[in-house]
């Protein structure tokens, strides 16, 4: 597991929920390798924010992208080489604020990638402003009287727009998170895990631990999943929805691999010659 760590200095606050996510992904990778998903085929992307520092710490190939845009990088990687497995890390500001459209469209397309949403419900790295998942009343430097916008429900939103694997985990339940990560990465299609991630400088672990509960059973239909997602409180953990739908790249070009089966120059010029015949 040590080779999954880089030499980068870790600058997350001591006690940050991101450490739990980091541990769980490091635990998940050997399990995935046992199942035949090789490490060298895994590619990670991160946006910008506290979540994204995982890119520097995790010794896997990938793109440290722009704020909100890494899910488009993920889609581009998958489309060009569908043999790769994409793990897309995002904060809630990154994925549901600046990058909301890209997140929703990746799910709409059922792009084959795993979207890990580090939900700390705050813009931590930029000094505590309210985020798309902050509760009404959150007092940050941009909302001194308290936020008055209703937060998104990430789980029902993602089920609605077309994700085919949707779960909620908690950075304090590392085993559950590890097992869910393995299932999500194995899933062919858009898998989404919202991870409750306490940002220690802004929120307390007890705020989470005292409220955490698990789903008693996994809903079996999309309609049921939506109802459960809407009615259960935001500390409810478990897999809310799993569905089967053809992944985007398969619908786009079947069994092609654009980068691996790229046509030779000769073949291209010959075909161009045919097009350019008078």
């Amino acid at each position: 597991m040590e080779d999954l760590k880089t030499y980068a200095e870790n600058t997350w606050c001591p006690g940050c929920g991101n450490f739990g996510i980091f541990t769980a992904i490091k635990n998940a990778i050997p399990l995935l390798e046992e199942k035949g998903i090789k490490k060298e085929k895994m590619v990670i992307t991160a946006g910008i924010g506290c979540h994204a520092k995982i890119f520097d710490y995790l010794n896997l190939s990938g793109i440290y992208g722009l704020h909100g845009r890494n899910s488009s990088n993920s889609e581009g990687i998958k489309i060009a080489n569908p043999d790769l497995k994409i793990i897309n890390f995002s904060g809630d500001g990154n994925g549901l604020g600046e990058g909301l459209a890209h997140t929703i469209f990746a799910a709409k397309r059922n792009q084959d990638m795993t979207f890990v949403l580090h939900n700390n419900s705050v813009y931590a790295l930029t000094t505590g402003q309210f985020s798309p998942l902050s509760e009404i009343g959150w007092k940050g430097p941009s909302t001194p009287k308290g936020s008055f916008e209703i937060p998104f429900n990430a789980i029902s939103l993602l089920i609605e727009v077309g994700a085919t694997f949707v779960a909620r985990c908690y950075a304090g339940e590392i085993n559950h998170l590890t097992q869910t990560l393995v299932k999500a990465i194995e899933h062919e299609g858009f898998s989404f895990i919202e991870v409750l991630q306490p940002a220690i400088s802004y929120r307390k672990w007890t705020e989470y631990s005292k409220n955490i509960e698990f789903l008693d059973k996994e809903p079996t239909t999309k309609e049921e999943a939506l109802t459960v997602a809407r009615n259960k409180h935001k500390f409810t953990l478990g897999i809310f929805y799993q569905g089967i739908r053809e992944a985007y790249h398969k619908s786009l070009y079947g069994d092609l691999n654009p980068v691996n089966s790229s046509l030779s120059r000769e073949k291209r010029l010959q075909k161009i010659g045919e097009i350019l015949k008078p």
């Binding site: 880089t6 030499y7 980068a8 090789k38 060298e40 085929k41 590619v43 992307t45 910008i48 520092k53 890119f55 520097d56 010794n59 896997l60 190939s61 990938g62 793109i63 440290y64 992208g65 722009l66 845009r69 890494n70 488009s72 990088n73 993920s74 889609e75 581009g76 990687i77 998958k78 489309i79 060009a80 080489n81 043999d83 790769l84 459209a101 890209h102 469209f105 790249h249 786009l252 070009y253 092609l256 654009p258 980068v259 089966s261 790229s262 046509l263 120059r265 291209r268 010029l269 075909k271 161009i272 010659g273 097009i275 350019l276 015949k277 008078p278």
Partner: protein, 552 residues
């Protein structure tokens, strides 16, 4: 009008097959072995309005349409009014006599005759082709062959309708314009089609775009050809997604291209800058239309030059080049793909509506296309941003046992984020070194196209305006030296400096004279005057030749 040029203009409402009639006429001329230039003028609407297509043809190479037409066919009253002054001396104008009876020219009852058929006014274009065929002395059988090939829906009705119109015209002006035939039939393609073929020839694997005129037909052409060439072609949710997807694809080694116009490129600039710091090879086709903002979507301009040269925040190398003709679009697109992969930096192929959407007969030497191939890493201990003499780090793509990290933050050689002062300086210097390497490389290539003349004043133009200038020079029988910078960044000063102390004029489609400023500021050229047009329309060679004569 030069003696050998013949121009056909057809005008009517959107949805009446105006553009198709222009394109069929172009094919008909090409089948006679003649050269063709077709320009389509259309409004941003789906039905109605006024559209027209102008096709000029000559036994010699022709690089512009002429607005002064020998034969005009107007489907409606608005066309008659619009093109009232466009008929050449000894030219003919046909109008739809069911729409009006007082127009100048020859009336043909297009509406009442076409109403005998189920497709009705969809047949107007067939009628226009029949009028053309008759006046240029095409035999009926020859015309029928063309109609069969070009209008495959309802062939019998089309032929019957065309024959009737042909006979009506024939009695009065049969073979009024006998056209000299050439020796070779050539393929007609648009600028955008040529860009597509050049990209494919250069190694394109994936194309991303959000529809925007005048770049949309690149998306349409490549989507249609995706299976044939084994490409992934994706219409994404926004230009922001488009460029970030393309960067993701380039990370896997796929040759990626995106296409848009000014407004879409504005959205791409954040990702353009990401390509700068991650050193991503990516080619952007920027086809200009009149701005600012939404501007005039279906018309032409060259006012995004300054924007293209400086787009994206931060210091990084941007390669910008602009093709002047439909043929050059093929070669230059492949060359730009080669260069962005060689130097691992983003590049812009800068074009405009007039080149993108006009069509020409072409003689493309397919084999002359370049091929994109990056410098690859071998062995272990891979470092994505390894410092090298020329600043170019070898590439490696997943899957690999080596770790490949591309980073939007400033980073160390391995790709890990850094805030270290020495490393920040080191990485800036590393990326900046690529400029010198690029300049040395470009010195071995054709970066400026010069047509030597005898007049002491030189004429500068880039992009499609070069074609207008060439046609104007030919028409006006004037003989200045014509200089077309192909590369705009880095600007080939090594080629341009020879014109420093001479008299220069610039022809461009920008109200503030962006090319003029560039040549003055970067190349230190003395520019005597600038001939500008910024009404969305391309230059007409007759008007332009007299304007050039005034300032020579």
């Amino acid at each position: 009008m030069t003696k050998n040029v013949f121009t056909f203009l057809v005008g009517g409402k959107a949805g009446e097959g105006v553009k198709k009639a222009g394109s069929v006429a172009a094919h008909l001329f090409s089948s006679m072995g003649r050269y063709v230039f077709q320009m389509d003028d259309y409004m941003s609407l789906i039905r109605g309005g006024h559209n027209f297509s102008v096709v000029s043809t000559s036994p010699n190479w022709i690089s512009s349409h002429y607005m002064n037409a020998n034969l005009i066919v107007n489907f409606d009253k608005r066309s008659c009014e619009t093109h009232m002054n466009d008929t050449a001396k000894d030219g003919l104008t046909f109008f739809n006599s069911d729409e009006q009876d007082d127009a100048e020219g020859i009336g043909i009852p297009l509406t009442s005759e076409s109403e005998k058929y189920p497709m009705k006014n969809l047949m107007y274009g067939v009628g226009a082709v029949a009028i053309l065929a008759s006046t240029i002395g095409f035999k009926k059988e020859e015309m029928n062959q063309v109609i069969k090939r070009q209008y495959p829906r309802g062939i019998d009705d089309n032929i019957s309708f065309a024959n009737m119109i042909y006979d009506m015209v024939n009695s009065e002006c049969e073979n009024k314009f006998p056209l000299e035939r050439g020796y070779k039939e050539r393929r007609i393609i648009s600028g955008n089609e040529s860009i597509c073929l050049g990209a494919v020839a250069g190694g394109l694997d994936v194309y991303y775009a959000y529809p925007m005129t005048p770049a949309s037909t690149i998306l349409h052409f490549l989507a249609k050809q995706a299976e044939n060439f084994g490409l992934a072609v994706v219409h994404a949710e926004s230009e922001i997604a488009v460029i970030n997807m393309a960067i993701g694809s380039a990370f896997t080694g796929a040759k990626a291209m995106v296409g848009t116009s000014g407004g879409g490129f504005a959205l791409m600039t954040e990702g353009f800058s990401l390509a700068g710091i991650t050193e991503t090879p990516i080619l952007i086709v920027l086809s200009q239309r009149p701005g600012p903002a939404t501007g005039v979507p279906t018309y032409t301009e060259q006012a995004d030059l300054s924007f293209a040269l400086s787009a994206g925040h931060g210091d990084f190398l941007r390669i910008v080049a602009s093709p002047a003709t439909v043929e050059e679009a093929y070669y230059l697109t492949s060359e730009m793909l080669e260069l962005v992969w060689k130097f691992q930096t983003p590049g812009i192929l800068l074009t405009d509506k007039h080149l993108s959407e006009s069509s020409m007969t072409v003689d493309i030497d397919i084999e002359r296309a370049k091929w994109a191939e990056p410098k690859m890493h071998e062995g272990s201990d891979y470092k994505r941003y390894l410092g090298t003499e020329d600043g170019i780090s070898p590439m490696l793509f997943p899957p690999s046992k080596e770790i490949i990290k591309w980073n939007s933050y400033e980073h160390d050689e391995f790709g890990i984020t850094t805030e270290n002062a020495d490393m920040i300086t080191f990485m800036h210097d590393k990326r900046d070194k690529k400029l010198n390497a690029l300049i040395e490389d470009l010195k071995e290539r054709e970066t400026v196209n010069i047509i030597w003349g005898e007049n002491p004043t030189n004429v500068f133009a880039y992009g499609s305006t070069y074609m207008s200038v060439i046609e104007a020079i030919n028409f006006g029988k004037i003989n200045p030296t014509i200089i077309q910078p192909i590369y705009l960044n880095p600007l080939p000063i090594w080629e341009l400096k020879q014109f420093k102390n001479q008299e220069n004029i610039v022809v461009e489609q920008s109200s503030t004279g962006q090319l003029t400023s560039l040549l003055r500021e970067k190349a230190g050229l003395n520019i005597k005057s600038t001939i500008k047009r910024y009404d969305g329309r391309p230059f007409d060679p007759i008007e332009l030749s007299s304007k050039i004569k005034e300032v020579l």
